[in-house]
Each structure stands twice: as C-alpha cells, then as structure tokens.
Amino acid sequence: MIGRRRRAVYQGEGRILVPFSGALDPTALRAALRIARAEEATLVPAYLLVVPLQYDEDSPRTDHVAVALPLLEAVELEAARRGVPVDARIEKGRSLTHALRRLWEVEAFDRIVASSSSFTAKELAWLLTNAPAETIVLRPASAVAASL
C-alpha cells in the first residue's frame, strides 16, 4: 500500500489570521491554507467568543469552548495535511469586533482571511476599515450560503 507523501511543515514566518465564530466556512479555510502554504506563513485560526454583558468578562464560557475546541483541532488536522504550521487562538470580547481588536492589539498578522458567513455586513465593514493587515473577505461556500 502506498502511503500519502508527508509534506514537510516549514517554520512559518508570516501569520495569517482566520477569525470565525460558531462555524468555520471551508472556503475561507481552504483559501487561507493556500495562501499560508504559498507564503510559508503560519495559520492562526481564531475562534471569537462573545461574552454577553450580563456575565463577568472573565467568566468561563464552557458551552462555547466545547464548540471551539473540536473546530480548532479539525483546522489543525487539515493544516497538518497540507504542511502548514498552526498557532490556534480563542479570543473573547463583548462582541466579535471587540474580540478581534483585542487579538490584533497583542499580536501582529500579515493577512486576515474572513468569511462573510461569520460576520454581519456591519462587522465586515468595520473589519475592512480597522484591520491592521491586508484583509480578504470571502463569500461562503455554496452549501453554507444556501443554509444562510
């Protein structure tokens, strides 16, 4: 039996942020992986966790974390298959944009790949205006779009 050839995982220089919440659009992930591979960059999938105002900001949201962790593991597996290094994150905030801002306040990114399925039009407009790196907004995959 012939095994699949293992791709070497390079040491990523740049960092490509893929923010999402709830679910990750496969189109955005595939696009981000292609870019990361081409640029020999590290993929940073970031699950954005919204903490409603009625909760203390540091209160653990185990329900959301339980959703986020398998998603991040799945992304890590997919990235490893393609030989792309991964540095996953979970970031919290009072809103998706708040969580995003916090993330790039402490970490630098070379590109941001966002799916329009994870954000509202207003959030996407904010992202394009405020993102500290080149930002690509992708339409969702057809199956995802049909379910929206």
Partner: protein, 360 residues
C-alpha cells in the same frame, strides 16, 4: 425523609421566641405550606395568642397530675395529622410520667422522623452542659434540661435576641408576667447582670454552633478533594502548548476536575518577544477555559513535583518531548523523570494528532 429542624434559642423567657415561632408559622402558611401548632405553651400573652389564631392547632391532651389539670402535646395526634410543618413550643419540657417519652424533645424526634418539619423554642438555661454555669449565674438549679446533641443535630439554631434592658422593659409593661409577679421577677432571675450573663451564654452558644457548621462545610470539600481529580498541564511559550492546554481542558471536563497550567522558566531565562506573545496567548486561553495559570522558575521536574504536591494534582499532561535521542541518553527522558518523581500521579503525553494524520 427526616424533617427539617429549626430551633429558636433565647436567653430567658419573654424574649419573643414563641412569638417568632408563630410569625414563622404564619409566613409558611401564607406561602401555602401545611402548618399546624403542635403545642403552644399557655403563657396568657395576648399578642402571642392573637398570632396563633390563624393557625390550625392540634388539640392538647388534658391530663390530671398532682391534683392539677395539665396540658400536654398529643404526639400521636400530631403524627396522625402529619403536617408539613409543626410548631412546638418549649422543647426542654418534661412530660408527665405516663407519657411515651420522658421529654418533649424526644417527641419532636418522632415527629421529625415521620417527615414533618419542626420549629421549636428553648431557653439557654435548659442546656445540659451549661447547668452548672447557669446555677452560678442565677443561683437557680434548672431541673428541666436537654442534651447538647439536640442543638448539634438541629438543622438550624437561631438566636432570638433582646437586650437585658429591653427585656426588663417588656416585663415592667406586663407583657411577660402578670402584674403580681413583675417585681419578684426583676429582683431575681431577670436582674440586669444575670440577663447579661445569660445573653452572653446564648450568643456564645449560637456563635459556636455557627462556627462548627462553617467548619464542617469547609472540611467537607477538603475531604472531597482528597479523592477528587485535579489536572495540571505543563506548557511552554510555543504554539503547541495551546493544543496541550485545550486537550487538558477536555480531560478536566470529563473528570469534573479543576485545571492548572504551569510554565516553568529555566533559571535566568528571559522570554523573547515571540515567547511573550505566546505566554500572553496562553494566559488568555487559560482565562477563557477557567484554568489557573501558574509560573515558576527552576528545574522543571522539581517545580512540577512541588506544584503537584501543593495543588493536589492527580493528572499531569505534557506535550511530546522534542528532546533528541542523544540528550535523552545523556540527561534522561522528561517523561521518565516525571513518572519516577510523581508516584500516584497519572502522566499523559499529549501527542499532535495532526502528525498521526499526515504520517499515515
């Protein structure tokens, strides 16, 4: 199931225990609970009698003793009635010789055992262990006593408190005793100095009761911890530690265990910019996961050993060591050292599943 037992404790007659018991009964009745007055001491206090009017009363037993007609609680009637809550005055009372139980607190035990909740009253002078102290204080040897275990086994002991001055004022106003007994009462048992002493005893008794209950609450979790799981994830400032911490969180969730994350810095090592970013990200993740992030400096195995002992960790999760075979031979394997130094602690090596996926 045994009923809930609440005891209203006072320093002396007249502080308002019976009044408070009836108030609580009325409040419970207003909330829709099935409440009866199991026994009410006939004090001839109009305010108290008025408060009892709204509540159903289990008829007392009338019994002749020493040429007197005396009222006693009809325990069987209360048991037959089987209320949700029975109000029973004066738990230290001694029953008549032909009664089933010698003391009323024993009657109450039967009612509690039958599943009814009970609110009862008692004065501190009846407590068995304080008998001598009460005698020294009041020069009155109290004959009707009840064992300390009654208070210990009660679910709640509530102090009904009144200052000595306020109680004396109530006595002078004729709210406690008839006019002809007021003077004698104030000159004897109800002297201010004696009331102060009794009050101190009552306050101390309730304070000790609260303390013992608090300690039992504190000790229970400690004893539970002795058999409970606690997970410790060893992390380093690099991306793969995110995975180790996440995996540790999932293990902790399955075990219902608290999670700690530990980074042990090599002596004298100052983290570079990239490591600082990774550390900050790990701390943020730890906050999100509800984990405690710990930092230490020194030899890795010694630090882990100390933290495991301090935190009571039962699981240690460590990433796949990336040490070379040569280093392993020369300095020994980290995992082997942990296994050797942490007897009784589970060591789990967190592999990168992605490597398994690409390796097949």
């Amino acid at each position: 199931m045994r009923g809930h037992y609440r005891i209203l404790l006072g320093m002396a007659p007249g502080v308002g225990k019976t009044y408070r018991m009836l108030q609580e009964g009325r409040a419970a009745h207003a909330e829709g609970r099935d409440v009866v007055v199991g026994y009410l001491e006939p004090h001839d206090r109009s305010e108290t009698a008025a408060l009892a009017e709204e509540l159903e009363r289990v008829p007392h037993l009338r019994a002749a003793y020493g040429g007197l007609e005396l009222d006693e609680m009809d325990v069987d009637a209360v048991l037959r009635r089987a209320p949700e809550l029975a109000l029973i005055d004066e738990l230290a009372h001694t029953n008549l010789p032909e009664a089933r139980n010698e003391k009323r607190w024993q009657d109450i035990e039967e009612i509690l055992a039958a599943g009814s909740d009970v609110v009862s009253t008692v004065n501190i002078q009846h407590l068995e262990s304080l008998n001598d102290a009460i005698f020294e204080l009041t020069e009155v040897r109290v004959r009707e006593t009840f064992p300390d275990s009654v208070l210990e086994h009660a679910d709640e002991v509530v102090l009904v408190d009144l200052t000595p001055e306020a109680l004396q004022a109530r006595i002078r106003a004729g709210k406690v005793y008839p006019r002809d007994r007021i003077e004698a009462a104030l000159l004897n048992f109800f002297r201010a100095d004696r009331l102060s002493g009794l009050r101190e005893l009552a306050l101390r008794e309730v304070a000790e009761d609260v303390e013992s209950r608090r300690l039992s609450v504190v000790l229970d979790p400690l004893s539970a911890q002795a058999v409970a799981e606690r997970v410790l994830a060893l992390v380093t400032p690099e991306p793969r530690s995110q995975r180790i911490l996440r995996r540790a969180w999932r293990s902790a969730q399955r075990l219902g265990a608290p999670l700690d994350a530990l980074w042990v810095r090599r002596p004298g090592h100052e983290p570079d910019e990239e490591e600082l970013i990774q550390l900050a990200a790990l701390r943020r993740l730890a906050t999100i996961l509800g984990a405690h992030f710990l930092e230490d400096e020194g030899d890795l195995v010694s630090s882990v050993k100390r933290v495991v002992a301090e935190r009571g960790s039962t699981y240690v999760l460590v990433g796949t060591p990336d040490e070379s075979r040569r280093r392993e031979i020369l300095r020994g394997s980290l995992v082997s050292a942990l296994v050797r130094e942490l007897p009784g602690v589970d060591i789990r090596v967190v592999a990168n599943r992605a490597e398994r996926a690409v390796g097949t």
